[in-house]
Symmetry: C2
Subunit: 358 residues, 2 copies
């Protein structure tokens, strides 16, 4: 598009400003200044290192476009490097390409057909409890109100609808200590893990179809620790099991399902403890704004199997999807990069949506 | 025995001198002084915190009586406490009762029928490489020469003949990392442990009979560690497997047997590494001195399933057994204790052996 904005240039500009998690002050200042200069019609509010910029045109629908400003630590890729229509470097895909699309939409469209809220938030790449988006939901929920949210996480330019939930349990199996030369005097807790792990290895998880989208659950042991000393039959072993569940189940239902699967391998003295739990988000492609996005853009649609911040919106009753130009498999990878034409596709789809409405 | 030595009193005297591993100086001084005073015919040699006292009567056979002077750390039982014919406290069973028997034999018999070497050595309760007995074997092997060795470790007053060997291997299984929401993109190394652990749980080890004694091998996972992070399908898990093997196998044969058992669960990228290995000791009850001990004392005889310092003697061609009054199951336990009549039985058996010979 000869007359469009320089999306790759804007992405490079944003990537040149380091913003590892908890150090998003400078990039937020920069975004604030860009919008103050180029989009004076937006109401801008800074909350900590988060920035929210909103139109207030009294439109019947409001669309939230949200993206995080932080990156994971650099991995020999702190300085963005351009090669033709490809930009390499930390944050190009995850997700300063998405931020560039948001900025250019704000600068280009002062009178959208729907009210638009641009949310730039901090600390997405670290522990969920530090999330800048959560900070906004707690401090200023009014700023995040809207009918639909679209997040710019890398999705290879497809619409990723909904997301699966995630929960983790810690399974501790008991045994009885003994001397390794006389193991029959005790009971080896590590040996008791065998059948449980074989079950997990063979277990076929549910693959429900929801609103036409194929989800696929997972149940995986992620860490294991056991043993007392090198001269003791171990009386304890602890397995952390993570479950990704489709959004047709609540966290409570998913936890009950996990406990039921584990039960045949447990005895009275064993303990299963819920460590953390995050709800999924149902796809909401029947919402007029999302239906319009999918119909008119021609973009592919798929289920999001991982957990993302769309669940924070969905949990507050705001249907949300991810749509970003980056290659999701290259996020957090030293070969992270984004292509100019992919940014273009995202920009075009969103430009059409906010210009025309549902 | 009204006219015998006060074995329980001597044990109490030795228990009152603290001698946790690496702090055996005081008790060794005390033993040295006792022997200097009461057994002037013995040649005494101090090597570090080890003490060797020998007759040199030109007898055709030499018997080594050996015991360690150290204890594990106290567990609310540092001060010995006597109740009738029972002495409670740290070191009573493991093995100052045995030291008391050795001291009283040295004081009572100045002209034994066999030459006798009394060995009091340090640092048995900690890492094998710190062993005071090993220090003696390296520094002054001449002092430990003999035809048979009897160690005073607690054996409930029975003769424990030979001992099983011990080896440990570290088994590392490989996988491939992936996101926990897409585990099928990788391979879970922890899940791969399932079949191996189920095999170990069900495996029946060899129970060979050697010289009429029943041995019983063991193969046990003692520690397990696996996992990368709570958001990664793990690509590695490490299991430490310990094998106790009967003395009809060399460590090399035992290692080969373990590798053969593990092989069906391993792939090319998995690694099995030998961590440590100690040979067992064949029972040598056909030696005239040991045959005489068993025949004339009427003591029970059984195979030693754990590893003990008898293997250090056996490895140097000196047949060795354990014989001690203490209850082996109470060693390292806060309820450790020894009974006077059990000390008497050990003392009587050894008194007869060194007084009469084979």
């Amino acid at each position: 598009m000869a007359d469009g904005p320089d999306l790759l240039g804007r992405t490079e500009e944003l990537c040149a400003i380091a913003s590892e998690s908890r150090a998003e002050g400078r990039i937020t200042d920069h975004l604030d200044a860009l919008l103050a200069e180029g989009a004076p019609g937006l109401e801008r509010t800074r909350v900590g290192d988060n920035l929210v910029a909103r139109t207030d045109l009294g439109r019947p629908l409001r669309l939230v476009l949200a993206g995080h400003t932080d990156t994971v630590p650099a991995n020999d890729n702190a300085v963005p490097r351009r090669e033709g229509e490809t930009l390499w470097g930390l944050g190009t895909a995850d997700m300063k390409g998405g931020l560039a699309v948001m900025v250019e939409l704000a600068l280009a469209v002062s009178e959208p057909a729907v009210d638009v809220t641009y949310v730039f938030y901090a600390r997405e790449e670290i522990a969920a409890k530090e999330s800048g988006l959560e900070e906004l939901f707690v401090e200023r929920p009014d700023l995040l109100e809207g009918d639909v949210a679209i997040l710019g996480e890398p999705t290879d330019g497809e619409v990723e609808a909904g997301c699966q939930g995630s929960l983790s349990v810690e399974v501790t199996l008991a045994g009885e200590r003994a001397h390794p030369a006389r193991p029959w005097m005790g009971r080896n807790a590590i040996h008791r893990l065998g059948d449980l792990l074989s079950f997990l290895a063979a277990h076929e998880c549910r693959q429900p179809v929801i609103q036409g989208l194929q989800f696929r659950e997972a149940l995986q042991a992620l860490t294991v620790t056991g043993g007392v000393a090198t001269n003791v039959i171990p009386d304890t072993v602890t397995l952390m099991v993570n479950h990704r569940f489709a959004p047709d189940r609540t966290p409570e239902e998913a936890e009950a399902a996990v406990r039921e699967l584990l039960a045949p391998f447990l005895e009275d003295t064993d303990v299963v403890t819920l460590i953390d739990s995050s709800p999924g988000a149902a796809p909401a492609l029947d919402h007029p704004l999302l239906a319009a996005l999918v119909d008119r853009s021609g973009l592919g649609v798929r289920a999001k199997l991982g957990w993302t911040d769309v669940a924070r919106f969905a949990g507050r009753g705001v249907p949300a999807v991810n749509l970003g130009a980056g290659d999701s498999t290259l996020a957090h990878n030293k070969h992270e990069r984004v292509e100019g034409d992919r940014l273009e596709v995202s920009y075009r789809a969103l430009l059409d949506l906010i210009s025309v409405g549902p």
